[in-house]
Subunit: 244 residues, 2 copies
């Protein structure tokens, strides 16, 4: 990672990519591909936190702070990219963190749990005792004391099937997903369309501030605003490359 | 790969993803991330070959057929996704294929060359004897009998630096890249913005047909048309999700 110059215009993006590759077996091959999809959508956001993302962050902070049992579901990508920030957010809320993987193996769960312990929290997920109905066995495994009994679940970088299954279970789901068109983005109750390492500090600040976000948030409308931003970025790039 | 149902609406995309992951060490981690970026842009193309892509394919076919020494530069992603189609294209033109990698190692070059041999051609690239000026050592290595002496180079899924270096060397460069905003897309003389496995059969057909494509092709204008298509797709998706 030392090779990327800090003044590179896309420094943060390149550091994130290096972190994921350096995580080796802890991040699944499909996780690297998913990260690439996110990079492309972030490019269309101008690689910055948009107004609609700030709105969603504030609503998410309020939901997490008012929850009976808030849980952060963490996977390989999210821990490799932002383990310490996830731990900091969990302490600020306070919430439990559960390691929950699409491509589950005991070795990956333990390795990722160890990274969270290094970041100062004791995660759930190593001894699953609850199944999310409607999902194939490995992806369904989780902890009753975590996702099983949660009323609000924050799912950074989730898969669409599991997001839907959690909603079907009656959970309030907050997603962090750079693709405003994904099933996760459209299924969650609150979708933060922003890059994970960029929005977690903002979410932590919002949690610490504990300011009411207002009750008139409409996720579908908010996603529409994000797509409008992407169209404007694409239009500006198109103009810059010479085609008006 | 047997697990993906053929009637899945995104079957081709899922098969491509599985092929890359199955290639293991032959595809670099960064290659998986790059594939993900391509998936996102392809989504914005509606996952189909657009009019501007057909125009670029016809111009590319003419350039390749009229070249003194056309060379196809193949990397891990392109061989894992489309080794047999690359071989078929090389035979149709005819052109040499050179294995040329960003993350070069002897083992990866040999493994990828073996896949091309299985597909029926004898590739270059295992014994580099030429350096592309202006690139760091490993990325610069190539064969004099291939890229070194080529007048026209087809670079599917290339990196921006090398595309620029090939243009600086005086080569005519044809790129296949799903991101119309990338440096590769904007630096190449002819950019086919299309998914590799979808456009190679079309390129082979165009090569076999040998129909003149017309001399009025403007790559920058063609990229502008692609971006316009993406904006329309985004607009349609936005409307469908409820925000007009």
């Amino acid at each position: 990672m030392g090779k990327i110059p800090e003044d590179h215009p896309r420094y943060q993006s390149l550091v994130a990519r290096e972190k994921l590759i350096a995580a080796g077996e802890l991040v699944a091959g499909a996780g690297l591909i998913a990260h690439g999809r996110g990079e492309a959508f972030d490019y269309l956001l101008g690689e910055k936190t948009t107004g609609p993302a700030y709105s969603a962050i504030n609503v998410a902070a309020e939901l997490l702070c008012n929850a009976r049992q808030p849980v952060i579901s963490a996977n390989g990508n999210s821990i490799a990219l932002a383990g310490p920030a996830i731990a900091e957010l969990a302490i600020a809320i306070p919430a439990r963190v559960e390691v929950n993987l699409f491509h589950r193996s005991s070795a990956r769960v333990s390795g990722l749990a160890a990274l969270l312990r290094e970041a100062g929290i004791e995660p759930l997920g190593e001894r699953p005792d609850f199944h999310i109905p409607g999902l194939a066995s490995e992806r369904a495994k989780c902890s009753r004391a975590g996702i099983g009994d949660a009323d609000v679940v924050l799912v950074p970088l989730e898969d669409g099937d599991r997001c839907q299954a959690l909603v079907d279970l009656g959970k309030k789901v907050i997603a962090i997903d750079l693709n405003p068109l994904s099933r996760t983005a459209r299924t969650a109750h609150v979708t933060i369309v922003d890059e994970l390492t960029r929005c977690l500090p903002l979410l932590i600040t919002a949690v610490n501030r504990k300011k009411p976000a207002g009750a008139d948030f409409d996720n579908e409308k908010n996603l529409g605003k994000v797509m409008e931003q992407m169209r404007i970025v694409l239009k500006n790039m198109q103009t810059r490359t010479g085609e008006g």
